[in-house]
Every structure is written in C-alpha cells, then in structure tokens.
C-alpha cells in the first residue's frame, strides 16, 4: 500500500496520519480515527449511512478516496454537538421518536443538518427531496421528516425551543409520547454496533462463498492461503469439533458447506487475517474443486418424482407441510352459488436492514467462547453453538449487540459459528463484517409463494367453503420455513369465519437462496391471496368490498380456522376506521369507474416528482432557477 501524509481538521481538531491515500474517507474515519458514528451500509453510495461534511459540503464518505480530503475540514456526527449535549436536530429526532434501530440515524442527522444549513426555510417536500440520498428501513420516514420540520421551526424561530423538550407525563404514561431511552446514543453516533467494535489484536474475517447452486465439494486446498503473510487461520467444515448443524426448527445447515454446496453464496471456507484486505486476498488462494449436481430452482420441480434430493434426510424435498381441515368442503362448495378459482404468486424479498451482518468472537480467560452479534435469537444460538463446538453450555456465551435492523433476517446463525471456530483456532478476537452484496447473497429471504385458491360463495356474499393451497420456495435450508408455513396456514383465510375449509401450506427445498423469517412470517403472502379474493368476489357479486367483508368477518363467539372459540374480535372496528379514513363511497367496485369521489382527496399521495426547491416561497429570497 502506498502511504501519504494526510493532514486535515476533523471535528475541529488537527489530525495527521501516514496512510493509504486511495482508501475511502469512510475507512480512514472509522479505522484510523475510530470515528464509528459514520457507518457503512452499502459501500456504493446508495444508503447515506456514511454522510459527512467535507469543507461544509455533505458527501458520502464511501465514495471519496481520502486523498480528496487532504487539507479539508471534516465534520462527522461526533462533531455536531459538544460531549453530553445535543444539537436542536438531534433533540428533535429524540423528541419525535425518529430513531429505531438507529443505524441510518447518524447519516440522517447529518443529512438533516445539511438541509437546515442549506435551506433553513425548506418545505416538507423540499426536506424530503434534499434527504433523498439517505434511506431508512424501520421508520417509514414519517418520524424523521417530522423531526427535521420540528428542528427547522426551532432554528428559524417559528417555534420555541421548548417544543424539543419531553412531554410532561402525569399519573400514567398511556396517552403520552415517551422518548426512547437509547435515542441519544443513536443521534450522536455513540452507539457501537458489532461492526464498530474493536479489540486488541483483533483479526478480520472474510468468507469464501459458493459460486454454484448445487455441487459436490471434491476437495478444498487451503495451504496457499494459510501460508500467506498476515493470515491468522483458515477454517472449513473440517474444523467443526461437535455435531454440525443449526436452524430455527430443523438443524439442517452446517456452519460451512460440508460435502456439498446447496446455494450460490453458501460459505465454504473463511480466512482470518491482520486486515480485511489481506483476508479477501487470501480467499483467492483457496482452491475448491466442485462437481456440479443437478439443481432445483422451482418448488414445483422439487415435488416431482425423481427430483434431485437436496438433503438426505428429506428424500421428498419437503421442509414442512401444514394441513388444516375444518367442516366439509365438498358440502360447502355444493351449497355455493358462485365458485371462484384463482392463483397468486409473490416474490422473494430481501430485508435490506441497513446494518449488514457483523460479529466479533473471542475466547476469554476462562475458555468461554464468546460471540457478540446482532442476533435476534441469542439463547437458541447459544444452545446450537454449544452442540456444534462440543462444549458445555457454560463455555459458550452470546452477547447481543445493537441490531441495526433485523425484521427476521438476523434470526439465523449464518456466521456466528465461523467466528467462534476462528477465535478458537487463533485465540484472538476475530471480527467479520458482511459487505452489502454478501448480506444479500447469504441471508434468508421472504418465501416466494404460490397460492391456488378456490372459494365458494352464496349470492349474498357468504363464503361457503375455501380450499387454500400454498407452495413456498424454502430455498436450500430449513431456517424458519416450518414456522412460516404454520403461520401462513393459521392466517390463510384471513379474519373471516369459514365453516368449511381445507388448507395446505408446504415449503420445499430448492437450490435457491434460503427463505426464512420476515415480518408477518408468511401472513403477507396468504393475505395477498385472501384479500384479493374478497375484492374479486365483491366485483363478481356486485357487493361493496367493505360489506362483503362484514358479512364474513369473525365476531366474538366465532370459531377460527384452527377451531379456537374467540371471546372478542376487532375487525368490525378496523373496517369502520378504514372506511372512514378513506372517505369510502359505498358501492360495488365495478359500478363507479374513474368517477369515484374518494380518490385524489386529502391524504392521497401526489405523484412522485422532484423540484420542490425550485418553488419560491413568497417571503423568502430568490432561489436558483
């Protein structure tokens, strides 16, 4: 690496380092100066978690070679307020509850600061436009935009600074906005996520991943990588001392591919080295010989006789089948005046939490293998890892670091085992931080599902029978598929009381990226089908969509799909609230066409455009263009 004497003013202090001029400003700030409030979410300029000011201009530090900042004044989130204090914008984020996982928040606070500096009078639309370079996955942006508008009003003197203070809570917290305890640590960038943590003598891990969807591993030769200067260790499945296998329900997934790979992106080997660049270079020296196996890429194919078998324990490729039966569907369909048959499909979805997977593992003075990671399931992970490492449970410890967004995607123990093995092999702390691309390739996704639907109805809109069959692509490993299929089955026919139903949900193995937990856990795929069916039925029967739902909704005393007697139900109130909020005009969907009066009114989102900054408010000075 070349070296250059880099001098700059960072948060008001002179800084001088002999460092690689071609490295990113982001790396310089985080690795050389330990300013970890500046995050890396994507490394490609897409997310804004790395926004910093360079000579007063907000830039994305992942897109700037540090040499460009030579002699510049840099301000990071750590430099916005004095220690122990908060700027107005930070107070506003705290007040409105704008921080959830917090990983996007330092960048958001920086972008908001830039808005208030560049355009202190910005309208809501202009605030949104100017913050377009920063993304958040938790909040839906409403609270963030609310915070910026609140800070704007305080900064411009339109509102008293008192509005930033917490609400007074009397006898009860109910009915009051209560500020989050952890918000100050997030809005100042002080909160350390796993990828921000450093330990003395720490090694950095990189993972070799399979380029094949289904292939036998004939051989792995790690000798050249192990001989490289700076490499601390190389690990493969051969390093696992105990019973290899983890999973939320079925323990079908090895820490690293064992004998064969089952999806593109599966971990095959991992290197721990002095720095991440050396670890990545060492990966290129590992020789893996593969023999291609026929792959399965469509769940329908997985069920065909003679289909390739992905896991020996499941010769039929079935991860889980959940059947539910209630009543007599033959009689139900016979009583119907109308029978509807439709098919629905939904796609794979990535969680895209802004914090890519990261972790740090070490073996402590009492030989306790300790893993710090944003795991959504540390107790289960601890038990599984103890078996994998053949250690008693008291010699395995999991510490949950702040989760920079999970949404179900961090329930699977897809890298903690590798960290533990490397820490045991080297007796050094080992850290792994996924790249965004790696996160997308290796982490579980929302199940792509196909639903075949048959619904019988009477002329007045009463459902007489439903046959609901869902086939989901579970991908290469079981992960949360079993629970997702169970939830999909339980929620399948929606909040409607159906006397006769026949439900089958199935998840099967394929050689696609594994599917796992994701917000709603199978409910979304099922409800998309059911609610679409309700609308189709309303259209066919000439009924109002709210009315057809009311005629079938569950009430106190109803028997659910799994035959639980309800003591209360709230869908009537939900429907009423939705009807009012949307200013719904009663009538069948077919009867009104484009002349509906309930479209385009207040609360309806305007078409997406840009250019709010060109609109000149009457009371402000002339603006550009």
């Amino acid at each position: 690496m070349p070296e250059m004497k880099l001098e700059m003013q960072v948060n008001g202090r002179k800084v001088m380092r002999l460092a690689d001029p071609g490295q990113r400003l982001l790396d310089f700030l985080r690795d050389e100066l330990n300013l970890t409030g500046t995050k890396e979410g994507c490394g490609a300029g897409e997310c804004g978690t790395c926004s910093v000011f360079v000579d007063g201009k907000l830039v994305k530090s992942c897109l700037m070679p540090v040499a460009k900042a030579q002699g510049a004044e840099i301000q990071t989130v750590e430099g916005l307020a004095k220690p122990g204090e908060l700027e107005a914008i930070q107070k506003a984020f705290h007040k409105t509850g704008a921080s959830q996982c917090g990983y996007c928040i330092p960048g958001m606070v920086m972008a908001a600061t830039s808005v208030l500096r560049e355009a202190p009078e910005a309208s809501l639309d202009e605030i949104k436009e100017r913050m377009g370079g920063n993304i958040c996955r938790c909040t839906g942006y409403s609270k963030i935009i609310e915070a910026v508008a609140l800070a704007r009003d305080v900064v411009t003197g339109r509102a008293s600074p008192a509005v930033l203070e917490p609400e007074t809570v009397g006898e009860s917290y109910i009915g009051h906005n209560v500020r989050r305890l952890d918000a100050p640590s997030k809005v100042t960038g002080r909160l350390k996520y796993a990828g921000d943590m450093v330990m003395p003598d720490m090694a950095h891990m990189a993972v070799l991943r399979s380029p094949h969807a289904h292939a036998e591993i004939v051989s792995i030769d790690t000798s050249e990588a192990e001989a490289m200067a700076g490499v601390a260790c190389v690990i493969t499945a051969a390093d696992v001392p105990g019973t290899d296998g983890f999973g939320v329900f079925v323990h079908d997934q090895p820490v690293m591919a064992r004998g064969k790979v089952r999806h593109v992106g599966e971990a095959v080997a991992a290197v721990a080295a002095e720095d991440a660049a050396t670890a990545r270079r060492a990966l290129t020296k590992i020789k893996v010989e593969y023999r291609d196996l026929p792959g399965l890429f469509d769940p329908e194919d997985a069920l065909k006789p003679g289909a390739p078998v992905i896991h020996d324990y499941a010769p039929d490729n079935m991860v889980k089948h959940i059947p539910i039966r209630k009543g007599d569907i033959e009689a139900g369909f016979a009583a119907a005046d109308l029978i509807l048959e439709e098919a629905f499909s939904t796609q794979q979805v990535e969680h895209a939490y802004l914090e890519p997977e990261a972790g740090i593992a070490y073996v402590d003075h009492d030989d306790v293998v300790t893993v710090i990671s944003p795991s959504q399931n540390i107790t289960h992970h601890r038990h599984m890892l103890a078996g994998i490492l053949a250690l008693p449970i008291n010699k395995v410890r999991f510490i949950m670091s702040p989760v920079g967004g999970g949404f179900g995607g961090k329930e699977d123990m897809i890298y903690q085992g590798m960290l533990a093995l490397a820490a045991m092999k080297t007796h050094r702390p080992v850290r792994l931080v996924f790249t965004r691309e790696e996160s997308i390739a290796a982490s579980a996704k929302r199940h792509p599902s196909r639903v075949t639907y048959r619904m019988g109805l009477t002329r007045d809109g009463r459902i007489t029978a439903i046959r609901f069959e869902m086939l989901s692509d579970g991908g290469a490993y079981g992960m949360s598929s079993e629970g997702v299929m169970r939830k999909a089955a339980i929620l399948s026919c929606g909040p409607y009381e159906i006397e006769n139903l026949w439900i089958d949900t199935r998840a099967v193995y394929t050689n696609n990226t594994p599917s796992g937990a994701f917000r709603t856990f199978g409910g979304m795929q099922a409800q998309f089908a059911t609610e679409s069916m309700m609308d189709i039925a309303a259209e066919r029967l000439g009924l109002d969509p709210f009315e057809i739902r009311r005629r079938n909704m569950m009430r106190a005393g109803s028997l659910t799909h799994t035959q639980q007697r309800l003591t209360s139900a709230s869908i009537d109130r939900v429907l009423e609230a939705a009807e009012q909020a949307s200013r719904w005009e009663p009538g069948a969907p077919t009867m009104r066409g484009p002349m509906r009066g309930d479209l385009g009114g207040p609360g309806t989102r305007a078409p997406c455009t840009l250019g709010a900054r060109f609109e000149t408010p009457k009371d402000s000075k002339e603006r550009v263009a």
Partner: protein
C-alpha cells in the same frame, strides 16, 4: 474493494497529462470517484487493484468556468451540484438545474463531475441529453512531450456506444463548452425506479425559446436519453417546431412519433409508452417556463432599477 498501488494528486494540467502519458496499463483517471468505487465491488468488477490512480480533483486548470460570447466553458471538474448552487450557471444553462435535481442525490452531486458523467458514456446517463441540447463540445488534451495538445469534439460525436467514447489514449477532458441559453424555458423528464440515486430508464431534456409575441417557437432543443445505445438529439422535431405556433395538438403530434426512437434492448414496450408522454410534457413545460423566463434585457433592467 478498490485499491491503488499508487495514488497521485497532480496540481496542474501538465503534471496530470505527463502522469497519464506515462501511466502503466490499467491505470485510471479519478474525477469525482462516484462511479469507480461502486464499480469495484462484488457483482461488477469485484476486488480491483489498480497500478495507478490519477486524481484530477486538485488540477487547477480544470476548475471554474468562463463565458465566451454565447458559450460558456466549464472546467472539467464542474460538479453537478454547481448547476443548482450557482445562480449564474442556472440562469445561463436553464436545463441543467432541472436535470441536476434528478441526478443521483444532493451529496453525490457535490462530487460527481459533468465531464465524468460524459466520459462514462452510460446509455442511461442523465447528464448527456441536456448537454447535447446545449450543443456541448469537449476539449480533449494530451501531453506531446514538451507541450499540451488539445482538440475539440462535439459530445454528440464523442459518445459512440454504451461505455464507449472517442477519448484517445493519453487524453484528458479539459473542459465542456455549452451554449448559453438564457431566456429559454427548460424541462427535464425522467423515469427511474425511484426519485433519487437511480439512472434513467428514459429521460428527455427540452429547451424552448419563444418569439417576441410569446406564441411561436423561436428555437427548440430536444434530446432523448436512456432509450438506445447513445443519447439522441431530435433535430427533425426541433426543425418542425421552429417558427410554428405553440399548440398542444402540434406538440402531441410530434411527441407521438417519438415512440419509434426507442432502440433499447430491454423494456421496449414500456419505454415506447413513456417517451411520447415525456416529450410532450417536456415541450409543454419548457414552453410554459419560457413564457415567464425573463429575457436578458429585462433582467438587466431589473438589476439596474
């Protein structure tokens, strides 16, 4: 991950050109760096170790801009945010702010250069259509042993295909010269997957100057991007409209014919539906803005008052 064996920050154009002339195979010029860093990642180029990076951001000659009569010569380091932040550039080049606001985001525009966007020659570049509409011309310079040799080339001729240009070995883009279009109304229409941080699925840049009655097209500039291997100037439509009365039916008629210009390899049907709508919207919006755009003389008067 992008690494450089050597990273140079030349301060003058002769230094930069001399480094570039001697550069080993695989060396790259670095302007804003907003494309080269995402390029060196998994799924694209992967980890890349370059023998030399020549960072142009400190080259004095590439900074700033100057007016030469009816044209403005912009140094190659002009960044996209300049068209929003510099009121004079915004006035002279009225289409550029409207394009700029759709270009990446506020932060990337602080680094991304106009010249870099042109040299990248992406068929989906937001920046090329407005430059074509403003008769953009590049100054390409190289080191000839003891002095600098420069040639000029129209941007229209420079971009030859996706990622392909007529930049010769050893050459650096020194400046971009554009028509000053003060008093024109302008519009930029773009469809992408979201508002910020996406390239164009289709885009249209339009400039309209009205005659003194405000009812006829005195001049029209129209260029299309994202719908073929190279951006295209729609001269036949410009010629047809020049001198004609501003009329919604005429605009709709010429716009309808633009669907046939779509020569993309993907999403052709979608683009054929979008483009005529964009051309119509761009012409109408530019004409509306031309009606309220003060002429240079009026502005002078206002300033003197």
């Amino acid at each position: 991950m992008l690494t450089f064996e050597r990273y140079e920050m030349p301060a003058t154009l002769p230094e930069a050109l001399a480094l570039w002339a001697e550069a080993p195979a695989g060396a790259r010029l670095v302007a804003g760096a907003t494309d080269i860093l995402p390029w060196a990642r998994e799924g694209r180029a992967g980890d890349v170790d370059l023998p030399l990076g020549i960072d142009l951001s400190r080259v004095a000659e590439l900074r700033g801009y100057e007016r030469h009569g009816a044209r403005v010569r912009l140094g190659a380091n002009t960044v996209w945010q300049d068209f929003l932040d510099d009121p004079r550039l915004a006035r002279w080049l009225p289409v550029m702010p409207y394009c700029s606001v759709w270009f990446a985001d506020d932060q990337i525009r602080q680094q991304a250069t106009l010249a870099g966007n042109l040299v990248n020659a992406s068929p989906a570049a937001d920046g090329t259509p407005p430059v074509l509409a403003l008769n953009g011309e590049l100054e390409l310079c190289r080191w000839a042993g003891d002095h600098i040799m420069c040639r000029t080339m129209r941007v229209e001729d420079f971009v030859t295909g996706p990622g392909a240009t007529r930049l010769a070995p050893g050459e650096i883009v020194n400046s971009v010269t554009l028509d000053i279009a003060e008093g024109y109304g302008a519009s930029f229409q773009k469809a992408g997957l979201r508002r910020s941080l996406v390239i164009s699925v289709a885009c249209v840049a339009a400039l309209v100057k009205l005659d003194e009655t405000g009812t006829r097209f005195a001049d029209v500039r129209l260029a299309l991007g994202g719908v073929g291997p190279v951006p295209e100037r729609l001269r036949d439509i410009e010629d047809r409209l020049r001198g004609a009365a501003v009329d919604a039916r005429l605009i709709a008629e010429v716009a309808e014919a633009t669907a046939s210009r779509v020569a993309s390899r993907s999403r052709v049907d979608y683009r054929r539906r979008v483009v005529p709508g964009f051309v119509r919207a761009a012409l109408e919006e530019a004409a509306d803005r031309a009606r309220v755009a003060p002429s240079a003389a009026e502005r002078k008067e206002a300033e003197n008052a």
